[in-house]
C-alpha cells in the first residue's frame, strides 16, 4: 500500500469530530472558535486534541475574535482553522474578506443551520450564497467544499489545508447540521503535511522580517493589479479544484442535483426511480466554488431536465440555471427552516415531473403530427 493510500482502522465518529482529527493529521496546530449549535462538537474536539499535539486551542471572545485570531495565526505561517454555524459565519465575514485580500490560508468549517436571524439549530443549506458568492465585501472567492458523509468531512478537511496553502486563500467546508452530527465509519489518512516553513509568512524570525501581510492597496492601480492577481489564482483553482460525483448518469434522462445531506436522500430516490424503470441519475457538486457548470452544461445536451433539491429557499439553483440556460427545464424542490424532505417526497416530485415531461413530449409529438 502506498503511503498516500495508507489509512487508519475505521472509527465510528461524528462528522464534526472527524473534521478535527483530519485537521490535526493535516498539521493544523491552531484552532480558534466560539461555541454555537450545531458546530460546537468541532470546538469540543479541538479543545480535546490540539493541546495534546503541542497545538493551541482558544475559545475566542467572539466569532470576530476567532476569525481574526486565525488571521494572525495564518499570517505567522501556521495551519489554522475555525468553525461555526450560520449566524456565527455572518459575524466572521469581515475577517474572511480581509483574509482573502491578504491571501491567508485559513480553513473555515460552516455547519449550516436555519436562518435568517437566529433561525433555529436545525439543518439547512441556506449559507450557499454567503459562502459561495462571498458574504464579505470585495472581489474574492472562497474555495467551498461540501462533504456528504463523515468520511468526506475527514477527507475534504484534510485536503482543504493543502488547497488553502496552494492558492493562499481561505477554504470553506460547507456542511449541514446532519453531516456534522451524523456518525459514520471513518478511515483517517496518515499524518501528512509540509514540514518546511512558509517563505511568505511573518514568522517572527530573521528570515522573514522583510515580509509583510496586508489587504490595503491605497493606489487604485495597485489594488486593481492585486485583484487581477487574485483572479488569476481563482482561475487556476477553478481548473484544478473542481470536484463532483455522478451517480447513474450514463443513460439518465432526468438529473437530480443536490449537495451535502440532500445528495444522500437523492441517491435513495434514484434507486427507487430506477426500480420503477425510470432513467433518473444524480449529479452531486462537491466543490460549490468552483461549481461544476461545465459538467451540467454537458448534460444539458442529452437530458430532458434537471431537478435541483435544496434545504433552502433555492440558492444553488441559480448556478444550475446559469449553466443550463434555456435548453431544458430546471425544476426546484426545497424544504427549509429545518424541515428535511423525505425520500418519498422527492420521489413523488420526480414522478410528477416525469409524467409532465412525458405529457409535454406527447403534446409536442401531437402538434408535429399534422405537419408530417
Amino acid at each position: 500500500m502506498t503511503p498516500d493510500k495508507l489509512r487508519t482502522e475505521r472509527e465510528l465518529i461524528k462528522g464534526n469530530e472527524a473534521a478535527v482529527k483530519a485537521a490535526v493529521l493535516a498539521g493544523c496546530r491552531s484552532f480558534f472558535g466560539y461555541p454555537i449549535t450545531p458546530a460546537s462538537e468541532i470546538a469540543h474536539a479541538a479543545a480535546d486534541y490540539l493541546p495534546l499535539v503541542g497545538g493551541t486551542f482558544l475559545q475566542a471572545e467572539s466569532e470576530i475574535g476567532a476569525i481574526n485570531m486565525c488571521y494572525g495565526a495564518a499570517a505567522s505561517g501556521v495551519r489554522c482553522m475555525t468553525a461555526s454555524s450560520s449566524p456565527g459565519i455572518s459575524l466572521k465575514q469581515e475577517g474572511i474578506s480581509y483574509a482573502a485580500g491578504a491571501e491567508l490560508p485559513i480553513v473555515i468549517v460552516d455547519i449550516m443551520r436555519g436562518g435568517p436571524g437566529l433561525g433555529n439549530i436545525a439543518p439547512e443549506q441556506s449559507d450557499y450564497n454567503q459562502m459561495v458568492k462571498g458574504g464579505g465585501h470585495g472581489n474574492y472567492h472562497l474555495i467551498v467544499l461540501a462533504p456528504n458523509s463523515a468520511q468526506e468531512m475527514c477527507d475534504l478537511t484534510f485536503q482543504a489545508f493543502d488547497i488553502a496553502d496552494r492558492y493562499r486563500c481561505p477554504v470553506c467546508i460547507l456542511a449541514d447540521g446532519f453531516i456534522g452530527q451524523m456518525m459514520e465509519p471513518v478511515a483517517f489518512p496518515a499524518p501528512a503535511f509540509p514540514k518546511s516553513e512558509k517563505d511568505w509568512a511573518v514568522r517572527g524570525d530573521a528570515e522573514t522580517t522583510k515580509n509583510f501581510v496586508t489587504s490595503i492597496d491605497l493606489e487604485p492601480e495597485a489594488l486593481e493589479k492585486h485583484i487581477l492577481h487574485l483572479e488569476s489564482k481563482y482561475a487556476e483553482a477553478a481548473r484544478n479544484e473542481l470536484r463532483w460525483e455522478e451517480y447513474r448518469l450514463d443513460d439518465a434522462e432526468y438529473v437530480l442535483i443536490g449537495y451535502g445531506i440532500v445528495s444522500r436522500i437523492l441517491r435513495t430516490v434514484v434507486e427507487k426511480a430506477r426500480a420503477e424503470g425510470q432513467r433518473v441519475g444524480m449529479l452531486r457538486p462537491i466543490s460549490l466554488w468552483p461549481f461544476p457548470s461545465a459538467v451540467i452544461e454537458g448534460l444539458t445536451r442529452r437530458v430532458k431536465g434537471f431537478l435541483v433539491v435544496e434545504l433552502s429557499n433555492g440558492q444553488m439553483v441559480d448556478d444550475v440555471r446559469l449553466a443550463v440556460g434555456r435548453q431544458v427545464p430546471v425544476h426546484l424542490y426545497t424544504r427549509c427552516g429545518g424541515m428535511v424532505m423525505t425520500t418519498k417526497e422527492v420521489f413523488d416530485k420526480v414522478q410528477e415531473w416525469v409524467a409532465e415531461a412525458q405529457n409535454e413530449g406527447a403534446r409536442e409529438a401531437a402538434q408535429l403530427l399534422p405537419k408530417i
Partner: protein, 476 residues
C-alpha cells in the same frame, strides 16, 4: 558632535510608501505617531529583538506603519489587532508581538478585542495612541473625545447626554487582574518624552521576559484634526487632554510575575496518531475477509426519555455493525423531532452504501417510554417489529401487521443492580430477536467504550438477561 540617525529597526528609505518622497513619513506635520514610532524602533534596537518582532498595524493613520518598521509586519482589520496579535503570539510564542492602535480602533470598534486580550493576559505589548479624534477618516468623534470638543460628527461639541463620557482605557483595563503593566504618558516635552521612552522599553522588556500583557497609552497630538498649530496642540494636551486622562502608572506587577510557560513540543507522526487514538491499518481493508454482512438494509429507531441511554444503544448497534464489515449511519434526534418528550436516534445498517441516514419508515423500533411508542408506532414498516420496555409502557402497540415484543427492561436492569443498563437489556432483546448485532462485535464494541470493569460486567449481564427473556417468549 552627535550624529542623528534613524533607528536600525526603521527602514532607511521608505520604499513601500508610494509617491516621490521615500525619506519622509506620510504623517502630517506635528503628528505624534512619528515620534512614538521612533521610540518603539529605538526600544526594539536596544533590546536586540528586531528579528523576532512582529508589528501589528491597525486601521487608522498608522495603518501604514509597515512603510517604516524594518521588522515583520502584519496589517489587520479595524479594531481586531488584539485578536490577530493573540493568534500570532499563540502560534509563534518566541516572537515579540507589538500591537499599535488608535483610539477609534482600540476603544470603539475594537473594544471587545482589547478587553478580552487584556483579560487573558496575552503576552503582547499594546501601544494605544489617544489623540481624542479620528484622524484618517476626517476628524470625527472618538470614544476619547472630550466633553464639548467639536469634531465633524459633534459639530456643536460632544455632550454627555448624547455621546456619553470619554472612555478611559487605562482605568478600565486596570480593573482586570491579568495585565502586568499599564501606564499613560504624553510626549509634550523632553521630560515626558523620556517618560514615554521608559514606558515603551518597560513594556517590551516585559514581553521579552514572557510575563504577559502590557499596555501603554500615549496622549498624542493631532494638529490637523484639532485644527491647531503643532505648538498649540502640545499645550492643549497639557491643559486639557492630560486633565481628562491623568498620566501615571496604573499597574506595575512586572517584578512579581512569573514568566509564561511556552510550549516547545513538536510531536512525531506516531505521537499524533497516538493522541488521536488512531491505528494505521497496515493490512487489508478493514472488514474484509471476516465480514458478517446484514442482508438488506435495516433501519432502526431507538427512542425513549433523555438519560435512558438510547443514543448509546444506537451507537453500539452501529459500531458493532461497522465491526462486522457493514456500512452504518447513526443520526441523533435533531431538528423538529427533538420536541415531545422523546430522545431518539436513527441507525441504518446495510451491506451497500447508505443513501439517506434519515429514518422515516423503520424496520425495528426500540421504544423505552410511552410517548416514543405513541409517536413512532405508525412509522414501523409492515413486517417490522417493535421491542418495547414493558416495565414502563403499560399499553402494548395496537398494530397487527408488525411483531410486538414486550421486554421488561427496566425491571430486569433493577434486578441486575443498575437501572442504567436497561438499554443493554433492550440490546440483548434485539440480538435475540434479530440475530444482529453479533455477540463478538457487540463484545468488542462495549469493551472499547466501557473502561470500568464492574460496569462492563453489568452490561454483559444485562445483554444476556435481555436475550433470555426474548428467547423465552419465543421471539425468534
Amino acid at each position: 558632535m552627535k550624529v542623528l540617525e534613524k533607528p536600525r529597526s526603521f527602514y532607511q528609505r521608505f520604499d513601500r510608501k508610494p509617491g516621490a518622497h521615500p525619506y519622509t513619513t506620510h504623517y502630517c506635520p506635528g503628528c505624534g505617531h512619528g515620534v512614538l514610532h521612533k521610540l518603539i524602533a529605538e526600544a526594539v534596537d536596544e533590546l536586540g529583538i528586531r528579528d523576532r518582532t512582529i508589528f501589528v498595524s491597525p486601521v487608522g493613520c498608522s495603518v501604514f506603519a509597515y512603510y517604516y518598521f524594518d521588522v515583520g509586519n502584519i496589517q489587520v482589520a479595524h479594531g481586531r489587532c488584539p485578536a490577530a496579535a493573540t493568534g500570532i503570539k499563540r502560534s509563534r510564542p518566541d516572537s515579540i508581538v507589538i500591537g499599535y492602535q488608535g483610539d477609534g480602533d482600540l476603544a470603539a470598534i475594537g473594544g471587545n478585542e482589547i478587553l478580552h486580550a487584556a483579560n487573558r493576559g496575552e503576552d503582547i505589548s499594546v501601544f494605544f495612541v489617544n489623540n481624542a479624534i479620528y484622524g484618517m477618516t476626517g476628524g470625527q468623534m472618538a470614544p476619547t473625545t472630550l466633553e464639548g470638543m467639536r469634531t465633524t460628527t459633534t459639530p456643536r461639541g460632544r455632550t454627555i447626554l448624547n455621546e456619553g463620557y470619554p472612555l478611559k482605557m487605562c482605568e478600565l483595563l486596570s480593573s482586570l487582574p491579568a495585565p502586568v503593566y499599564i501606564e499613560r504618558t504624553m510626549m509634550t516635552d523632553g521630560k515626558h518624552l523620556m517618560r514615554t521612552r521608559r514606558a515603551v522599553m518597560k513594556a517590551l522588556q516585559c514581553q521579552v521576559e514572557g510575563k504577559g500583557f502590557t499596555f501603554v497609552e500615549v496622549l498624542s497630538q493631532c494638529p490637523t484634526g484639532w485644527k491647531m498649530d503643532p505648538a498649540l496642540s502640545l499645550k492643549w494636551i497639557e491643559e486639557n487632554l492630560a486633565k481628562a486622562f491623568p498620566l501615571g502608572v496604573y499597574r506595575d506587577e512586572v517584578k512579581d510575575r512569573e514568566p509564561h510557560k511556552r510550549r516547545t513540543w513538536i510531536p512525531s507522526d506516531e505521537d499524533v496518531l497516538k493522541e488521536l487514538e488512531l491505528t494505521l491499518n497496515l493490512g487489508a481493508e478493514s472488514g474484509d475477509g471476516h465480514a458478517r454482512l446484514v442482508k438488506g438494509p435495516i433501519r432502526f429507531k431507538f427512542a425513549g426519555f433523555g438519560g435512558q441511554g438510547l443514543m448509546l444503544l444506537g451507537e453500539v448497534v452501529a459500531d458493532a455493525g461497522m465491526r462486522a464489515g457493514n456500512h452504518v449511519t447513526w443520526l441523533p434526534s435533531y431538528g423538529p423531532e427533538m420536541r415531545g418528550g422523546t430522545a431518539n436516534c436513527h441507525v441504518v445498517v446495510s451491506n451497500d452504501p447508505i443513501g439517506s441516514p434519515v429514518v422515516g419508515e423503520c424496520d425495528q423500533l426500540l421504544a423505552m417510554n410511552r410517548p416514543s411508542l405513541a409517536k413512532f408506532e405508525a412509522t414501523v414498516a409492515p413486517g417490522g417489529s417493535i421491542i418495547y420496555d414493558s416495565s414502563l409502557i403499560e399499553t402494548p402497540p395496537t398494530r397487527t401487521d408488525v411483531k410486538a415484543i414486550p421486554l421488561p427492561a427496566t425491571e430486569i436492569a433493577d434486578q441486575i443492580g443498575s437501572t442504567k443498563v436497561a438499554n443493554m437489556v433492550m440490546l440483548g432483546g434485539l440480538m435475540a430477536h434479530l440475530g444482529f448485532p453479533g455477540d463478538e462485535e457487540t463484545r468488542e464494541t462495549l469493551m472499547s467504550r466501557v473502561t470500568r470493569r464492574e460496569l462492563l460486567e453489568k452490561n454483559f449481564a444485562a445483554i444476556e438477561a435481555g436475550k433470555d427473556q426474548v428467547q423465552r417468549l419465543g421471539g425468534r
